[in-house]
């Protein structure tokens, strides 16, 4: 299977470990990723708080590139990127005037490549395919599946799973032989980009997530977003120091878990590059 690949700024920067894991995992599943040539930033948090037109034009340009490069399905592993791309695609489909404007600004047309987040891409591969490809079932893994605030929201844009009580990641984790735990904070915010402006906010919010996951018996947390990983993994020691608790919670990218079940080594998946947890 071929998928277009839009890494976004994170996977080319601070979350290079995510990219390493993604490529290893999907490669093992027979998916070849074709990175979009000449892609630009999706606009992330900055664009849509400043200028709506800009916030559509940036992802629209990437969609236009995908169309020109013959890509039908575009994987954006960062939840902010996938949301911005989905938002632009939806806005152009619904607003003909905006669509005409985008045609002049960034030569974008409505329609084009379907945007997939990581979970959707794995669903596209197929739960059954994944299940049969599992070599070492993750028997002893008790995992809290964490979606964060963006994967399911806003529901009319994300068009993905139940907005408040999603279950799609749990289905994948179960297919790997691991046990997903029932917990409360799957769709709460980790603090996201506030990590730059107000670290305390992030420590407080991410602490609640770690505490709830631990209270419900999770030994690790699965994420599908680079920002969530930064806050829960890199900041974990700061959280522990501030709240005087010890979690030692491994934060896996969802593709890490798939990769481990497929028999890939932690090193191959870049798990050794994480900060927190037992395998660190």
């Amino acid at each position: 299977m071929n998928l277009g690949y839009y890494p976004g700024c994170s996977l080319h920067g601070s979350s290079d470990d995510y990219q390493q894991s993604l490529k290893a995992c999907l490669g093992a599943l027979g998916v070849s990723l074709k990175e979009l040539d000449d892609w630009i930033c999706c606009g992330a948090t900055a664009a849509h708080t400043l200028n709506r037109k800009l916030s559509i034009a940036l992802p629209a340009r990437n969609l236009a590139l995908a169309a020109r490069q013959g890509c039908d399905e575009l994987l954006a592993p960062c939840s902010m990127c996938s949301l911005q791309l989905k938002k632009a695609r939806k806005a152009m489909a619904e607003d003909l005037a905006l669509s005409a404007e985008m045609a002049t600004i960034v030569e974008a047309k409505p329609g084009g490549a379907r945007v997939l987040n990581l979970i959707e891409a794995l669903e596209r591969v197929g739960l059954e395919t994944i299940k049969t490809a599992v070599k070492t079932p993750l028997k002893d893994f008790k995992v809290a599946c964490y979606y964060g605030c963006l994967l399911t929201r806003p529901p009319k844009v994300a068009e993905f799973d139940d907005c408040e009580q999603p279950e799609s990641m749990e289905r994948i984790v179960s297919a790997l032989g691991a046990t997903p735990v029932a917990w409360n904070y799957k769709t709460e915010c980790c603090g996201a980009g506030m990590t730059m402006a107000s670290e305390e906010t992030v420590l407080e919010l991410s602490h609640k997530i770690l505490a709830d996951a631990a209270a419900h018996g999770a030994q690790s947390i699965a994420v599908a977003c680079p920002m969530c990983h930064v806050n829960l993994d890199m900041k974990q020691s700061a959280i522990e120091a501030r709240y005087g608790s010890r979690y030692g919670m491994t934060i896996y990218y969802l593709c890490d878990l798939v990769g481990l079940a497929l028999g890939l080594t932690p090193r191959a998946l870049g798990i050794n590059r994480h900060f927190a947890g037992r395998t660190a």
Partner: protein, 664 residues
């Protein structure tokens, strides 16, 4: 030569401000056939009507045009005046120079010209009008009430007490509806069962009420005064004429752990059951989906226990036909299925309804409060049976929420939530009720006082704001919300959460409405004919509505509306014959080629395929024939008839072409 009178109304200033009524009179008096033309300040008033009557007599008028407001407003008024003066009312026409002229124009000259034109075409029409006589249709002087909740019960009893027979059709095994399951009612806290069950008994024993329970309306044919309704009596597997209601069968049934519909899943019932002990009729029914005998052919315990031999496992649905003259729809409501609704109004997954056992809806809480409920009126939470010490009530779950699809206010939730906090406090003295609300809407007699009492005397804590999320931790429900008056977030560790879910029309109402040609609004509530002046009528003659099927409403309002519908039914049934407007389709049967395009096109099924036979009984020809009881005069048949033999009385092609010609 015609002798036509034109009466131009000023409508106070409404018309006269924009239209020069003196010039209008001057001009239209010159039209050929116009005998006299006058204007007056209020033509609909008594002096105005007198003027019309006197002129008709004095000038021997054979046609009248009143230039005034829309015919919707006063056509009937003016036609009555004409009739009083001895003129056939259908020889009077209204030219609308208010809504279609003075109200929408500002240029006086142009508006005056337009008014003159409008009158000219009406004069041309009146010249071609001919006298019509109202249609008489016989009336079956009995009524059907669909739905046996408090509204249906009230309507049925009122109609029956007035001396007419009533057929009541109820879908559930017992009448009583939602009210039978409520605990106590606002604002007086009188027990719901104590006030309803005697009324249920009245229905069951009334000599003029025929009761079909566990039955649904299958099909409806006919028209006002002459409906024929097919009722499907669902297989009950119990012969209710033999059964004595002793209850031995339910006691003996081995399959006791089925969720009770009457308790909204808070309690259980056997496979053969009466929904509640006070049911009317006090007869059980077998749930065919769980009964071991009906699903696997093994068991038969209830039949062995039944001394009356009333159990019949081979029972089948039966179709019966009932002739009635009028129908009342009182089908009631259901609650919004929180977080489980299919389609665009899915929402509130964040409250975890269905996921956390101790998050329940308001009707479920009613059952926990009710003396006849599964906990005998003790407040015990579903998960572990413990008495909850902190209960959070959330109002407007689904109501007034544009994002989740239901824009309307469910009207009764503010009141019953206040009642819930009170009843809870009366039962759990050391408990604390917390209410999250958007606004408190408590308009009604003694209603606001009731809410104040809940807050001031019974100590309910009210927070103006929404709840964003409910999570579960160590057996507690963590409710996170906002207090927008204090401007701060609130977190409450609750033992029980009660969601005041939006009221929605009962399942199947749209299908039922289609069978009766009754409209539904965008949310599926039944449509009244006019929101203010015809609130219990529908656009189908002889079909009336009441209760929560029309819109969310409380018990007093449902009862009042039911009595209103009953009085409308009595008007319909009061005469042996009904008169209908004669402006309906007419088919020239001599020329009809029997292609039956009109038969297929008619939206009211008012056209029949008829045969014309000579006196020897030999078939002479086939023809389409209009049923004057059903025809609504829409004119669809006129437009599809290839040989131009269909016409609408009062709007004939001749009249219409005369109007057009007068303009050219």
């Amino acid at each position: 030569m015609s002798r036509i009178g034109v009466f131009v109304c000023w409508c106070g200033e409404n018309i006269a401000r924009v239209v020069d009524v003196d010039r209008v009179v001057e001009e239209v008096a010159k039209l050929p056939g116009v005998r006299c033309a006058v204007n007056y300040k209020y033509m609909c008033s008594e002096p105005g009507q007198t003027m019309i009557r006197e002129r008709i007599a004095a000038e021997k008028l054979d046609g009248v045009v009143v230039a005034s407001c829309s015919p919707h407003m006063h056509l009937k008024t003016f036609r009555k005046a004409a009739q009083a003066a001895g003129l056939n009312p259908y020889l009077l026409e209204v030219a609308n120079i208010r809504e279609q002229c003075s109200w929408v124009h500002s240029d006086r000259n142009q508006a005056t010209e337009k008014a003159i034109e409008l009158i000219r075409i009406s004069v041309a029409k009146v010249k071609n009008n001919h006298a019509l006589e109202p249609i008489k249709v016989p009336v079956t002087r009995r009524a059907m009430v669909v739905g046996g909740g408090v509204a249906g019960i009230q309507a049925a009893l009122d109609i029956a007490d007035a001396g007419y027979e009533v057929v009541m059709v109820e879908r559930e095994p017992s009448i009583g509806g939602k009210m039978a399951g409520l605990s106590e009612t606002f604002p007086t806290l009188d027990c719901s069962q104590c006030i309803l069950t005697p009324r249920m008994v009245d229905v069951g024993q009334h000599p003029r009420i025929k009761l079909y329970t566990y039955s649904e309306v299958e099909a409806v044919e006919g028209f006002v005064g002459n409906f024929e309704v097919t009722v499907r009596q669902k297989a009950r597997y119990v012969d209710i004429t033999k059964c004595t209601g002793c209850g031995e069968c339910s006691k003996a049934c081995p399959l006791k752990k089925n969720k009770s519909e009457f308790d909204f899943g808070m309690g259980t019932r056997p496979a053969i059951y009466m929904p509640f002990p006070q049911a009317v009729p006090a007869r059980p029914v077998i749930d065919k989906n769980v009964c071991a005998m009906l699903t696997r052919g093994k068991c038969g315990v209830c039949a062995k226990k039944c001394a009356a031999g009333a159990i019949n496992y081979k029972d089948e649905d039966k179709l019966v036909k009932e002739k009635v003259g009028a129908v009342v729809l009182a089908t009631g409501y259901k609650l919004y299925s929180i977080g489980k609704q299919a389609g665009p109004i899915a929402g509130y997954g964040e409250y975890g309804y269905g996921k956390y056992k101790d998050v329940i809806d308001s009707l479920q809480f009613e059952r926990l409060l009710s003396a006849s409920g599964p906990t005998s009126g003790k407040v015990k939470r579903p998960s572990d049976g413990a008495t909850p010490k902190n209960v959070v009530f959330i109002s407007c779950v689904g109501s007034r929420d544009n994002a989740k699809g239901l824009t309307y206010c469910s009207k009764i939730c503010c009141m019953y939530t206040a009642k819930h906090t009170m009843l809870y406090k009366h039962k759990v003295h050391d408990g604390q009720a917390h209410v999250f609300y958007m606004d408190i809407r408590s308009a009604g007699k003694n209603y606001d006082e009731f809410v104040r009492r809940a807050i001031e005397q019974d100590g309910a804590k009210y927070y103006r704001g929404r709840v964003s999320k409910i999570t579960e931790q160590d057996g507690k429900l963590i409710v996170r919300g906002a207090d927008t008056l204090a401007g701060e977030p609130v977190t409450i560790e609750a033992d029980l959460v009660v969601l005041a879910a939006a009221m929605r029309p009962a399942d199947g109402v749209t299908e039922l409405a289609q069978k009766l040609n009754v409209g539904c609004d965008q949310f599926g509530f039944l449509m009244e004919s006019h929101p203010k002046l015809r609130p219990v009528e529908t656009n189908t003659a002889g079909v009336y509505i009441c209760g929560a099927a029309q819109a969310p409403k409380d018990i007093p309002e449902s009862v009042a509306q039911a009595s209103a519908a009953a009085s409308k039914v009595q008007i319909t049934l009061s005469a042996a014959e009904l008169t209908r407007e004669p402006e309906i389709a007419r088919i020239d049967e001599k020329l009809c080629a029997a292609c039956f395009r009109c038969y297929e096109a008619c939206p009211y099924h008012a056209i029949e395929k008829a045969e014309v036979r000579n006196r020897k009984g030999e078939l002479v020809k086939r023809t389409a024939r209009v049923n004057p009881g059903l025809c609504m005069g829409c004119g669809t048949c006129v437009s599809v008839c290839p040989s131009k033999n269909a016409d609408i009385e009062g709007f004939t092609e001749q009249e219409t072409y005369a109007m057009i010609e007068s303009l050219i």
